[in-house]
């Protein structure tokens, strides 16, 4: 009896494990099928280097360069904001803050992660956008800059919670070892604790970037949705994700426009894959010191 129960449970766990792999493979192969069929009719090089995204004009032009630029610009801006704030906050929570402050701060940060992105987008639209418009004297505040600020704040909770775990799991003995050699508290934090926690912190940053690249709704509401190559961070832009979200509803299934959106998905996948790959390389290097 107990043996067969064991067997059943093992089988269920096995099936669950396999299912998640199968889903990923299915999603990927579907994306690949729809996306690649687009490149039969439209060259890949032209697709990523053409400056014009006019999928619905009489002579359609599928150039996603502006979309790639938009995504990269917003992501970079968001990282510049989120990484320092996130890592510093994590350091503060795990190493410096007194216990009472730590508990409050930690639950607040976790609460921040639970806010739906649409809500953040909405709040950003009515707060950040007018402020940015007035401060920098722009024709519109719907810009990559506003998007970066808001996405930055969306990535902060992810970065904080995961790096905080990484920092706290650094054995206390490392700290003692450095302190006993006469290092100050700050030197210990910087050279020992941060260094030992670096793989975890990099993972946290990667997940944060993942959230920023994949974010759709909020970014659509706040960046102005203009598909042209931006000249500065204060230009309105459009990201790859928001293009897919905004246009999928208006396409004809199986048409060029429909397939082009899958091709965008494929490029997006490629970019996140490269980001993860670079992160892995970095982690591997870190392990060997």
């Amino acid at each position: 009896m107990r043996k067969s129960l064991d067997y059943i449970i093992e089988t269920i766990i096995f099936i669950c494990g396999m299912l998640s792999i199968i889903f990923v493979v299915l999603i990927f192969s579907f994306l690949l099928k729809e996306g690649l069929s687009f490149f039969k009719d439209f060259s890949f090089i032209k697709f990523i280097t053409n400056q014009f995204w006019y999928p619905n004009s009489k002579i359609p032009s599928f150039g996603i360069l502006p979309l790639i630029c938009g995504s990269v610009l917003v992501t970079l801006g968001a990282c510049l904001i989120a990484v320092p704030i996130g890592v510093m906050t994590a350091l503060f929570i795990s190493e410096i803050a007194p216990k009472g402050v730590r508990d409050i701060l930690k639950s607040l940060v976790e609460l921040m992660a639970a806010i739906p992105s649409v809500v953040i987008g909405f709040v950003g639209m009515v707060t950040i956008v007018p402020v940015v418009k007035n401060i920098f004297n722009l024709p519109t505040g719907l810009s990559a800059f506003s998007g970066s600020i808001m996405l930055g704040f969306m990535a902060v909770p992810t970065i904080v919670t995961i790096s905080e775990d990484a920092i706290r799991s650094v054995p206390g003995q490392y700290k003692e070892g450095a302190l006993a050699l006469g290092a100050t508290k700050w030197q210990t934090l910087r050279r020992i604790v941060l260094k030992a926690a670096m793989p975890g912190i990099i993972a946290a940053i990667m997940l944060g970037i993942g959230r920023v690249i994949g974010e759709t709704m909020a970014v659509m509401m706040i960046t102005g949705n203009a598909a042209h190559v931006p000249h500065s961070i204060f230009d309105p832009i459009r990201t790859m994700t928001s293009t897919i979200a905004a246009e999928m509803g208006e396409t004809v299934r199986g048409g060029m426009h429909y397939k082009s959106l899958f091709a965008i998905g494929l490029v997006l996948f490629l970019i996140t894959f490269i980001v993860n790959f670079i992160a892995d390389l970095f982690l591997g290097k870190n392990k060997n010191l």
Partner: protein, 250 residues
């Protein structure tokens, strides 16, 4: 006989619970003083107070004074004190970097060496003094985490020697080591005594009798007895000491 460290009426508390009670003892220059006693006797607290590691804990309170070369350590700069009074822990703690950087980390930061050539010399000398040079000279730039336990502990000793302290505190340095590594560590302790003053906290009574010049016996936060090692082990004055070293309790 010069007193290196004088401890006067030192009491320590964790969360207001007294763990060390009005301790007065001195440590002579270039001696090995062992501290033995059962768990909770306050011996580790005693050691950690001498380089103010225990001051890092919020719930720790102390009264009394400790003088290093007649200078009160509680008025000293904490980082500078730890350069002069260094500590070796029970578990070997290599920092998460290469062997070379483990040794050079503290001297570089304290400004003891600046030039690359001086660093190389210091690393080599420290490793030789800790009898580790031959084991690792070909892989100085690989991670220190990949060494064996005994090597790691000797690396920690080399790291301490590199900052040239005055006093070295050993906190059960051999509790995780095999007998051969233990013998090596003990050997280097006897070697080091010529230059440094050593305090050794140990659960291993035999180890205390092997290496130390004087031995102190702690029980329940109180110093019961301190004397020349041979004297304490052969004819202890107190009954509790005798019971402990003959293994009747503890």
């Amino acid at each position: 006989m010069v007193d290196k460290i004088q401890i006067k009426n030192l009491s320590c508390y964790y969360n207001k619970k007294c763990v060390l009670e009005s301790l007065t003892i001195n440590v002579v220059k270039n001696e090995i003083l062992s501290v033995i006693g059962p768990a909770n006797s306050g011996k580790t607290t005693f050691l950690r107070t001498l380089n103010r590691m225990s001051d890092l804990e919020v719930s720790f309170k102390r009264t009394g004074d400790v003088f290093l070369n007649e200078e009160n350590i509680f008025y000293m700069n904490m980082e500078f004190l730890r350069k002069r009074v260094s500590m070796l822990f029970a578990m070997p703690i290599p920092l998460p970097m290469s062997i070379y950087n483990n040794i050079i980390y503290a001297p570089k930061r304290l400004g003891l060496v600046n030039k690359k050539s001086d660093m190389d010399i210091l690393v080599e000398q420290s490793l030789k003094d800790a009898s580790l040079w031959n084991d690792v000279k070909d892989r100085l730039h690989t991670s220190a985490m990949k060494m064996s336990g005994g090597q790691q502990q000797r690396l920690c000793i080399a790291r301490i020697l590199a900052i040239d302290p005055e006093v070295i505190l050993f906190d059960e340095p051999c509790s995780g080591l095999d007998p051969i590594s233990t013998a090596k560590v003990e050997e280097s302790m006897l070697e080091l005594k010529r230059k440094y003053t050593i305090l050794l906290v140990t659960n291993n009574v035999k180890q205390a009798s092997r290496v130390s010049d004087r031995t102190a016996f702690f029980l329940m936060g109180k110093l019961i007895e301190v004397d020349k090692t041979e004297k304490l082990f052969i004819s202890p004055k107190e009954k509790q000491t005798e019971d402990y070293i003959t293994g009747r309790f503890g």
